[in-house]
């Protein structure tokens, strides 16, 4: 399966080429019946690609991901317009469980480990939907420990007491245990030490390369996101305001200035920022 996936991965470079694995067209999300969080967002996630979802706080990144994985309901939010299809199949009616069975797993913003379970138990719960036997699960457990040796050390400790980073690893590891084909990563870099951020993205990249896992990641850290992603969308208060290949985005002047912090004048120090009122908006 892996090899075949690889081909496809290579085949669908830069998105669009083959029919997208996951496509979101023009969805509108409302919280509490009154708060309009997404005002018509459309994304196309090619199979085997890494797609980045960028944008300021409150832009609606997490909301988008939740809309895909269908856990909006539990936050009293609902998709009021538009639709989402996975490999051509409409999925708005599916339960999160169905989605995970179809290989779509979300790693939620802000970790969400199971505080009272040990790290290892956390990982094992990740494999809940799997039917391929204990040995296979054990294998993947080892794989995860391979990626995150630190978790191996803490396998017996109660997740609630581990540090922020450890929890982040735990959350990602847990998602891996489900043998996903699509991972929705919400701000994986948040609160991680630089070299860990690297590592995690390396791991993500490896997964994408080796296992042909498709990734949709919401990131604040535009810089690293764009250097790993193939394609990027920029969200601003509930709308897609810009999208394109990682390359083109990185070249884009506005992106450079507002998201990468490099302007024509080169990189400037955080000390030298004069006024706050620089915000330029596309909308």
């Amino acid at each position: 399966m892996a090899t075949q996936a690889k081909n496809e991965a290579t085949a669908s470079h830069g998105g669009g080429a083959t029919p997208p694995l996951l496509s979101i067209n023009n969805i509108e999300v409302v919280y509490d019946h009154v708060i309009l969080a997404l005002k018509g967002v459309s994304l196309e996630i090619p199979k085997g690609g890494i797609t980045a979802l960028l944008g300021a706080n409150g832009a609606g990144k997490s909301t988008t991901l939740k809309a895909v994985s269908n856990i909006l309901k539990s936050e009293r939010g609902e998709v009021t317009k538009g639709g989402i299809t996975l490999g051509g199949e409409a999925i708005h009616h599916l339960t999160p469980n169905d989605l995970v069975k179809r290989g779509v797993v979300q790693v939620m913003e802000g970790r969400h480990c199971f505080g009272h379970l040990t790290v290892e138990e956390n990982l094992l719960t990740g494999a809940y939907t799997r039917k391929d036997g204990a040995s296979a699960i054990q294998q993947d457990l080892e794989m995860v420990y391979g990626y995150f040796p630190r978790l191996k050390e803490r396998r017996r400790s109660i997740a609630g007491y581990t540090s922020g980073g450890e929890q982040q690893m735990c959350a990602i590891g847990r998602a891996l245990m489900a043998k996903p084909t699509v991972i929705l990563l919400d701000e994986p870099s948040m609160g991680l030490a630089p070299q860990l951020v690297e590592e995690i993205f390396e791991i993500v990249a490896t997964l994408n390369r080796e296992e042909g896992v498709t990734l949709l990641l919401a990131e604040q850290n535009t810089n690293i996101a764009l250097s790993y992603a193939k394609y990027g969308y920029i969200l601003e208060n509930g709308r897609v305001v810009l999208d394109g290949d990682a390359e083109t985005l990185r070249k884009n002047e506005d992106v450079k200035e507002f998201y990468l912090g490099v302007s024509t004048s080169g990189r400037k120090s955080f000390r030298d920022i004069k006024s706050y009122k620089r915000r330029k908006r596309w909308l």
């Binding site: 540090s163 980073g165 630089p194 860990l196 690297e198 993205f201 390396e202 706050y276």
Partner: protein
């Protein structure tokens, strides 16, 4: 005041400034030989460092190094098994958190700890509770001192709100705010207490560049305007190196290095344990948020942490 951003920072060359502060300023808080254990885990082992008045002190280190625990020790939420904390000349091995707050230590939290059920303004007002003196009956009747206090403190809080530019969400329940704004409200709440020492636990986590820049501004202004001492934990090297005067590096609960940003940045141990190889030579284009290496050459198995403990 928010509009008139001071430009003092850029006038004086930075190195000197650091020197000046480092030498002259009195020690505001000193941590001596602190060791903190949780059952089996040793979060901190014999850590000592000091924070001088009016400086920006950064605490960095890999995840699980014990940074947050350090802050928790400083403001009395964790009680170290060994060592003690000297705060404004008074040495104590234990104090209750609200005492710490009363004596001028305020902080923000790594996993946001706002009062979800309250509006932004009320959250910030809680920061000033220590300053409110009105009695029960007065408040019950909303009369006399109670009313007066409410109004004057409200005025103060509004200043902070303008300063941090959160007017628009003044009356929104914080639970519904996006992450980044919540962080800002939390800072506002800490500032409302007019602290002498401000502890910030990863204030810029989960922010995009723009917001980080603003946050830096705020931190620096607070530090320069009111001379508030700031101790902050941050993983974004760009930020840390730029805005902090001195940096202490923790790794696995042990102090790894302590000094000016440049000293630290060039310390091989730090690079090995934390920054990653490429940190000192960032390609200008990819710099800004987090410096990243050309990736891949370090296999996960050889994560430095793995070898320890």
């Amino acid at each position: 005041m928010a509009t008139a951003a001071p430009s003092k920072a850029t006038d004086a060359p930075r190195e000197d400034e650091v020197q000046v502060q480092a030498d002259l300023a009195e020690v505001l808080l000193a941590v001596e030989g602190v060791t903190l254990r949780f059952g089996g885990v040793t979060a901190l082992t014999d850590v000592s460092f000091d924070i001088r008045r009016a400086e920006v002190r950064a605490i960095i280190g890999p995840n699980g190094a014990g940074k947050s625990s350090m802050l928790n020790v400083i403001n009395g939420f964790y009680h170290p098994q060994e060592g003690q904390v000297t705060w404004k000349g008074v040495t104590r091995s234990q104090m209750r958190p609200h005492e710490a707050a009363a004596t001028g230590i305020a902080r923000t939290f790594q996993n946001i700890a706002l009062f979800k059920g309250m509006s932004t303004i009320d959250n910030i007002m809680t920061g000033r509770i220590l300053k409110m003196k009105a009695g029960f009956l007065e408040q019950m009747l909303y009369w006399g001192r109670a009313q007066r206090e409410e109004l004057e403190h409200r005025a103060e809080v509004e200043k902070i709100i303008d300063f941090l530019e959160i007017q628009s969400v003044r009356n929104t329940p914080v639970g519904k705010l996006p992450y980044g704004l919540q962080k800002r409200v939390e800072l506002a709440r800490a500032l409302a207490a007019e602290p002498e020492l401000l502890l910030l636990d990863e204030p810029m986590a989960g922010m995009n560049l723009e917001e980080k820049e603003d946050m830096c501004r705020f931190v620096l202004d607070v530090n320069q305007e009111f001379g508030t001492t700031v101790a902050l934990i941050e993983h974004d090297m760009g930020v840390v190196m730029d805005i902090s005067d001195r940096v202490v590096v923790l790794d696995y609960g042990k102090k790894l290095a302590d000094g000016t940003p440049d000293e630290v940045r060039n310390d091989p141990a730090v690079i090995e344990a934390y920054l990653g190889v490429s940190a000192e030579a960032p390609q200008p284009e990819l710099d800004g948020a987090t410096p990243i290496s050309d990736g891949g050459h370090r296999t996960p198995a050889s994560v430095p942490d793995a070898s320890r403990s």
